[in-house]
Symmetry: C2
Subunit: 65 residues, 2 copies
DNA sequence: ACTAAAAGTTAAGTAAACTTTACATTTTAA
DNA sequence: TTAAAATGTAAAGTTTACTTAACTTTTAGT
């Protein structure tokens, strides 16, 4: 699944570690999701959504659309 | 996490088994998610969203908002 | 060029999503 | 009211999301 996390994160001038702390996950989790190694859980997707003030659908792109 | 799956599903006159087949998951998975036993993965949430033609946020309610 | 911070990656483990099988209970309809 | 369909539930297994720890590579600032 594609996502805009890196763009959104850098727009806020946050490091991966910053994001990890804010969202209460590990830095490796942020890195892996940004790099598309796996998808976030739905609750974590909601956390991204709230932080970036964007609907989940605008952050994550489920290609089979 | 709260959700409106049962209402949405019955509005379409589908059984849990119907939904399961359509979304390519097991009937037990549909049942468990409807009953709030666990949250769907993000890809499965997207499938619900497409089927019901509603944003993920209107189907699932992440209470800590 | 050097250094430090940030990002990337890997391994080994835990937790949660999801599977299959099986059976019990509830709902629906003839 | 009884039979079939639908729903609920549980156990045991697999897969995927996530953790910690450790190390390497890349990026940015002086």
């Amino acid at each position: 699944m594609n996502n805009k996390l890196k763009e959104l994160r850098t727009a806020l001038k946050m490091t991966q570690a910053d994001l990890a702390t804010t969202l209460e996950v590990s830095r490796q989790t942020i890195n892996a999701i940004e790099k598309g190694k796996f998808d976030p859980s739905l609750p974590l997707a909601f956390k991204f959504s709230r932080l970036f003030k964007l609907p989940i659908e605008e952050i994550f792109d489920d290609e089979e659309n």
